[in-house]
């Protein structure tokens, strides 16, 4: 399959622990953010999103936190499982056309240790 990146930042966590993946975004005017998960050989998969009028949003085992002051986004995964091993990257919407102009971060590789 396609390799996403051999030299990405890597986060290694023990199975069952919580994971925190960080993302710094570039545009203070960005109003919409998405976290994606990409497994080896597959396309990116939507995990969770957040709009700029929110600071926190929770999904199933995942939480996204948005700090607009420092332009920082984080993804928290609770009770990390082996199936969570993948590359995770954030995307910010910077365009006037809502949702059409996303800028994607390079990603972080999450490795879950048994």
């Amino acid at each position: 399959g396609e390799s996403v990146g051999l030299h990405l930042p890597t986060l290694s966590v023990q199975e069952g622990d919580n994971s925190i993946i960080n993302c710094a975004y570039s545009n203070s005017a960005s109003d919409y953010f998405i976290w994606y998960k990409q497994e080896s050989g597959k396309g990116p998969q939507f995990i969770i999103d957040i709009r700029s009028n929110m600071d926190k949003r929770q999904g199933q085992r995942v939480t996204v936190l948005l700090n607009k002051t420092v332009k920082h986004l984080s993804l928290q995964i609770a009770a990390t499982q082996p199936g969570d091993s993948a590359v995770y990257f954030c995307a910010e919407n910077i365009g006037a056309n809502y949702g059409q102009n996303f800028v994607f971060g390079p990603g972080t590789r999450l490795s879950v240790l048994p």
């Binding site: 396609e2 597959k42 999103d49 990257f89 059409q100 800028v103 390079p106």
Partner: protein, 113 residues
Amino acid sequence: DAGITQSPRYKITETGRQVTLMCHQTWSHSYMFWYRQDLGHGLRLIYYSAAADITDKGEVPDGYVVSRSKTENFPLTLESATRSQTSVYFCASRAGLESDEQFFGPGTRLTVL
């Protein structure tokens, strides 16, 4: 097959040749996108389309051509491939501006020799 598919999954070509990457979605989504993914750059938008016969440039459109004669298909053509176009290409679709989720295809790995 339901969903969004891309073909071919792998392609090797030579500099100067024309290459077309296919993308097909079965949801009748209005919006479709082409991205390339390279080490250190993340996903970069090449072209997108808001509907049939409506296309627009993204961040890195040079060297690429798209068309959208039918809602379900969004082919990407490299008119004269260059080595710098070696990449993994992803197609994506989205129901509309009111819909948040963007669905990606499995990708095409293109190598230009």
